[in-house]
Amino acid sequence: MGSHRLAAILVLLASPALAQSYGIGRTPTPDEIRAMDISIGPTGEELPEGHGSAREGATLFQAKGCVGCHGRAGVGAMAPQLQASKSQDVPIWERGRGSSGWMILPLTAPYATIVWDYIHRGMPLGKEGTLTADETYALTAYLLFLNHVIPEDQVLDKVSLPKVKMPIGDDYARLPEWKHGTRRLQGYPY
């Protein structure tokens, strides 16, 4: 092997450009990523510091105008229902839908983190993204309490929230593994 070629290989191995073909785009700072990363996964690893309880959440539900769209205690208004109308002994898939047909999120979500993420990014109407971490923990706690998922005095934070046992348990469908050329449903003729 010629020394030139050996040198070229050594340069390639040493260069971070080896894996990056175009060298286009810049490296974001960790702070930049943290500021944009509002996705909360089932493990809750992205959850911020802060805490809140159902009692604080009940006050915020009034103060932040949630009642205007969702109704008192999350029932009886235009926006999706947030508290089940049927009693707790009714199976989850029968009591999980509101009168308009939408699923009741704080009851049927497989993970409590989904409720936190939804409120934090999408509420309240017209002022999305303005709720603080404490407010979001409190509102999440209030809605979970309304649906008998947690007791009224439980404080939610980044440790306790992912541990909340949601009533749906394992009783929901996982999406099939997708590969190129996949049929919608194996064995489905259409």
Binding site: S21, E32, G41, Y118, P189
Partner: protein, 416 residues
């Protein structure tokens, strides 16, 4: 007519020259010059700069579904808007007529492309931020793809194909393959899913398998030869060919590579109990519809008509389209116009001579992986449930659509 224009008679025009330098009308006798002529469309600055269709063409989008939330509403919000498929020709939906749907807030953000960036982070070796200029430096691809909304369902209540099927459209999309960007970032072995997020008020987010990202997802900045329209995600939209519309994240600002299904925001609507129903509400099935003759149209009399329609599938390219003119007893192979593209509207045609009697016309298609569009009766049979007139197909509705033609030539919904 404006005063200045009215003052110019035919004689003044005689002195004008054509773009080729020869005098216009010199050889024309005056009698011809005086004949009434077709009115002229006066060139305005606006018409020169950005063209407009003839005012005789009145094809329009409309709010969807019937009786649903209006677009725009009193706050200027836009919700679901259906494309006029009954007037469509070819396979490309003009950007101005492309269907669109927004989630809860119905908020279309006004994004300055100079400020817009795409962040890719999570389970990658190198998180990267791309601005619009960066993305346009990278190798591009251009592909024809349909997008269809999960709400594109038909039943006996709709009067025309815009109401029954108008929540699908097809455009030519240009951008960078998502796999190109993910290779730049370097995927970690634990990367299994990704979350795509928009920049609108609710930062709408969807989770998708990383295998799809590496297969054919496209980060699109171009649509039908110009920038993506704001209602369709300007300046950047994720294309997930063949998946239901909501996954095609508009105003794309962030992609997070993760190890599991995140179920963020837009995913929640996909929560199902039965795995079969979840699977049928993900990738669009093979689907076709006759656009002419279709509901609300009127055949002027018996004789020749080319039955025209559109076929598409989330499973790949359309391989075959069949048309029946006797209510589904006999299926005839239709002609596929041009080359069928993967996950794109495909135009078909079938020559038909109408004898003036009542008829029911239908179409069905088969895609490249052998999935065939079912009738509603076939779907009910598969699920082993009794077929009823109002049978609701589980998952996305890709069932066959019949149109009924009466003796007087009126065309109505065959499911009514």
């Amino acid at each position: 007519m404006a005063g200045g224009v009215a003052a110019l008679g035919p004689t003044q025009a005689l002195g004008q020259t054509s773009p080729f330098g020869t005098p216009l009308h010199d050889n024309m006798p005056m009698s011809d010059m005086a004949m009434p002529t077709t009115p002229m469309i006066k060139g305005t600055k606006e018409l020169i700069e950005y063209g407009q269709r003839s005012h005789f063409v009145t094809s329009m989008r409309m709010s969807h579904p019937m009786g649903g939330r209006p677009s725009p509403d009193m706050f200027g919000k836009t919700f679901h808007v259906a494309s006029p498929l009954q007037d469509s020709v070819g396979v490309v939906t003009p950007s101005s007529l492309h269907y669109f749907a927004t989630t809860r807030g119905a908020f279309v953000p006004d994004i300055d492309p100079k400020q817009h960036t795409l962040l890719i982070h999570g389970l990658v070796d190198r998180p990267l931020t791309f601005n619009m200029e960066d993305l346009k430096r990278l190798p591009s691809i251009t592909r024809l793809h349909f997008i269809e909304c999960a709400g594109n369902r038909h039943n006996g209540r709709q009067k025309n194909v815009q109401e029954s099927h108008g929540m699908t459209s097809c455009a030519e999309w240009t951008g960078v393959l998502l796999s190109t960007l993910l290779k730049e970032c370097g995927l970690k072995g634990s990367a299994k899913w990704f979350v795509a997020e928009g920049a609108e008020e609710v930062k709408g987010a969807s989770s998708m398998p990383i295998a799809k990202a590496m297969d054919d997802c496209l980060i699109a900045y171009g649509m039908n030869g110009e920038a993506v329209r704001p209602q369709n995600g300007y300046p950047l939209r994720l294309m997930v060919p063949g998946y239901e519309g909501i996954f095609h994240t508009k105003w794309l600002r962030r992609l997070k590579i993760v190890d599991r299904y995140y179920m963020n925001y837009n995913d929640y609507g996909h929560l199902e109990r039965k795995p079969e129903e979840a699977a049928l509400a993900f990738q669009i099935g093979p689907k076709s519809v006759i656009t002419h003759p279709s509901g609300g149209q009127q055949l002027p009399g018996k004789g020749f008509y080319e039955i025209k329609g559109l076929a598409w599938s989330g499973g790949g390219a359309i391989r075959m389209v069949e048309v029946s003119t006797d209510g589904g007893k006999k299926w005839n192979r239709a002609e596929i116009k041009g080359t069928a593209q993967r996950m794109a509207h495909t135009r078909f045609g079938f020559p038909w001579t109408w004898d003036g009697n009542e008829a029911e016309i239908l179409s069905r298609c088969t895609d490249e992986i052998g999935q065939r569009q079912p009738t509603r009766q076939e779907v009910a049979k598969y699920w082993n449930v009794p077929f009823e007139r109002n049978y609701r197909v589980p998952g996305l509705d890709n069932s066959v659509m019949p149109w009924r033609i009466a003796r007087d030539g009126t065309v109505t919904n065959g499911l009514a």
